[in-house]
Amino acid sequence: MESFIGDLGFIIGTTLMVSTPLIFTALGGVITERSGVVNIGLEGMMYFGAFAGAAGAYFSGSPWVGLLCAALGGGILGLVHAVACVSFCAEQIVSGIAVNFLGPGAALFISRMLFDGSTQTLTVPNKMPLPLNFLFGEGKLFASSGFMDLVFNRFATVYLAFFMVVVVWFALYKTKAGMRLRAVGENPEAANTLGISVTKIRYTAVVLSGVFAGLGGAAMSIAVVSRFSNTLISGHGFIALAAMIFGKWKPQGALLACLLFGSAKGFEIFLGAKGVPVPGDILAMLPYVLTIVILVGVVGKTTPPKAIGKIFDKGNL
């Protein structure tokens, strides 16, 4: 029984940890897509954020500076996507693909410049702290490696991600800015006739999506692991995108979807750690198979923002 509770704690804790990068990035997806701009460049933004975060944390010695660098890096790529999609009416999926070339390209280019030709950074001196340890001292609040410790004593980024879900939810549904953003995603022409600047709102939303994806990358490179490498992100941005859709374009829905994907991963890691003779590759497939099965089941019943992917050109009025 005791070991079962310990195992459960391990699975839940791992789930929380591996879900965090997805949560940040999926929130970015929610923000941009609710404003009507598709962003499949989340992957590239996350990739670049992971690098910028690790590099920032390595050179400054502070994970918080790393986090800031990641947000900034993701935001810059967000700006590129915004310029293309909002100002120049680019096909949004194509622009996203371009970002998926630019993000990894820039990350690896700079990595080779800074880290002696290597496509991975050196280990950061300080990972994201565990705030409970910081506040109460290690092993003081919960017994070390007990259930409570495994579940609740997590990196700062984990708490931040959950907090951000609340913030984004509140901003979207309870504030003026959020209402305008949703209106722009549903009917930009209507918003325009009321004097709301579609351009400004979409720029803000797309740049913010980059910032969140960048944070997601850093939550990977300076919390889950402690360095950036060229295969670190591989596909997480895409999974976050799927989670956002599965979560019906809502922050709270995206959170649940990310936790579901995370739990599949957590379970895989657990079985791996236990040495259970199940082929790892088959287990690794599970989250993806699950996504397809779930999308087949739910997609007909979800409604994306109406103006999503549609180019808004004032000249066409």
């Binding site: 009416c89 030709g117 995108l241 007909g300 992917g309």
Partner: protein, 371 residues
């Protein structure tokens, strides 16, 4: 992301050769600026790329070998796009094709030409099915193909990795499968090259010998034939007419009695089959086996770039495939020659795609009026 044809038609109506050329030039300019900022001489770097492509017959041969799978995955993406479908899944379909070809090449004992044909056909069928899954769940359940193919890519990757762990197929401990049989290989003079007269020939004929140092194979011929076939099917046949009608306006196609759902599935099967063929040719002609993949190899994603740069046509994909293959192979040289990171190539390609997506910006830069 049930995007109802987000103006995909724009992609193919807006593109013209002129705009694409300008985008390519701008890509090189941005690459030069990046190199300059990083403290390298862009001219030296670009010279290194050019030398890396043209200075030896062997290099050119390698560029062709690099370009072959890119041309075909480019054709795959372009074909689906003309039906209004964004096949992000060429990557996974390529993997399925490679895996199938590697299995058929190893497990079957067949005579020479037949073995190759069987490998390619089985690979195309399997990858076609893989693409068809995405087509089917789009047609039947409305799941957007961008999302489903992204998921299928990862499933394909793990499936392939799992296959390599099988005792009967994978060499245990190496992370690689057994090599395919000689009868299934399509590289030219592969066996003969390592025989005594072969070595002698290569030593005495410097030009041909140099070319033969690379794994020369007939893949490029297949790629060009496929490009012509894609062009014919799209423009000269009733099937192409139907698929393009669905791509431009599914509602009107439905009105005209065209079976839209069937067209979506057909298009994805053909697109998948093409990507699978690319994977098969790579195994039969170059790698002869598959290996455990830590991450995506990117043939499918690069195919998207090739298709977009090539304006989503057959001939365009061939040209863009060579451009991309040249950059990839030649670009790998700049690390040694000038010390600049090869990833500048990715930045250039990303920039080219970005500019291709913004014809408005290019017209603005060139001083054309907006309308």
């Amino acid at each position: 992301m049930k995007v109802d044809g987000p103006g995909l038609e724009k992609i193919f109506s807006n593109g013209s050769l002129g705009l694409t050329m300008v985008a390519v030039i701008l890509g090189f300019l941005v690459g030069a600026v990046v190199l300059l900022v990083a403290g390298f001489n862009p001219l030296e770097a670009y010279m290194a790329i050019l030398k890396g492509i043209f200075s030896k017959p062997k290099y050119m041969s390698y560029v062709i070998i690099y370009s072959t799978p890119l041309i075909i995955t480019g054709l795959s993406v372009a074909f689906a796009l003309r039906t209004g479908l964004f096949n992000i899944g060429a990557e996974g379909q390529y993997i399925v094709g490679a895996m199938t070809a590697a299995m058929a090449g190893y497990f079957f004992h067949l005579p020479m030409v037949v073995h190759v044909l069987v490998c390619v056909i089985l690979a195309a069928l399997a990858a076609g099915m893989w693409g068809g899954i995405a087509g089917y769940i789009k047609a039947r359940f409305g799941v957007h193909e961008v999302i489903s193919t992204i998921m299928l890519n990862w499933i394909a990757l793990y499936l392939s990795n799992w296959a390599v762990t099988l005792k009967s197929f994978g060499k245990q401990g190496t992370g690689k499968s057994y090599a395919i049989r000689e009868t299934a290989r399509i590289d030219l003079f592969g066996e003969w090259k390592i025989t005594e007269p072969g070595i002698e020939f290569m030593r005495s004929h410097s030009f041909l010998g140099d070319i033969l140092k690379s794994p020369v194979n007939i893949g490029i011929l297949v790629a060009i034939i496929l490009a012509v076939l894609v062009w014919i099917v799209l423009n000269k046949t009733t099937l192409g007419y139907e698929l393009r009608a669905v791509g431009f306006n599914p509602h009107a196609a439905e009105y005209a009695g065209i079976n839209v759902n069937q067209s979506i599935i057909t298009s994805m099967v053909i697109s998948g089959g093409l990507a699978g063929t690319a994977g098969a040719l790579q195994v039969l002609g170059v790698s002869h086996r598959i290996a455990k993949l830590a991450a995506m190899e990117g043939y499918g994603f690069d195919g998207i770039a090739v298709s977009l740069i090539g304006n989503n046509t057959g001939p365009g994909s061939v040209l863009a495939g060579f451009l991309f293959g040249g950059l990839k192979y030649g670009g790998s040289k700049i690390q040694d020659v000038v010390g600049a990171p090869t990833e500048v190539i990715n930045i250039m390609v990303g920039t080219i795609i970005l500019f291709v997506a913004m014809p408005g910006l290019i017209r603005l830069l060139l001083g054309f009026k907006k309308r």
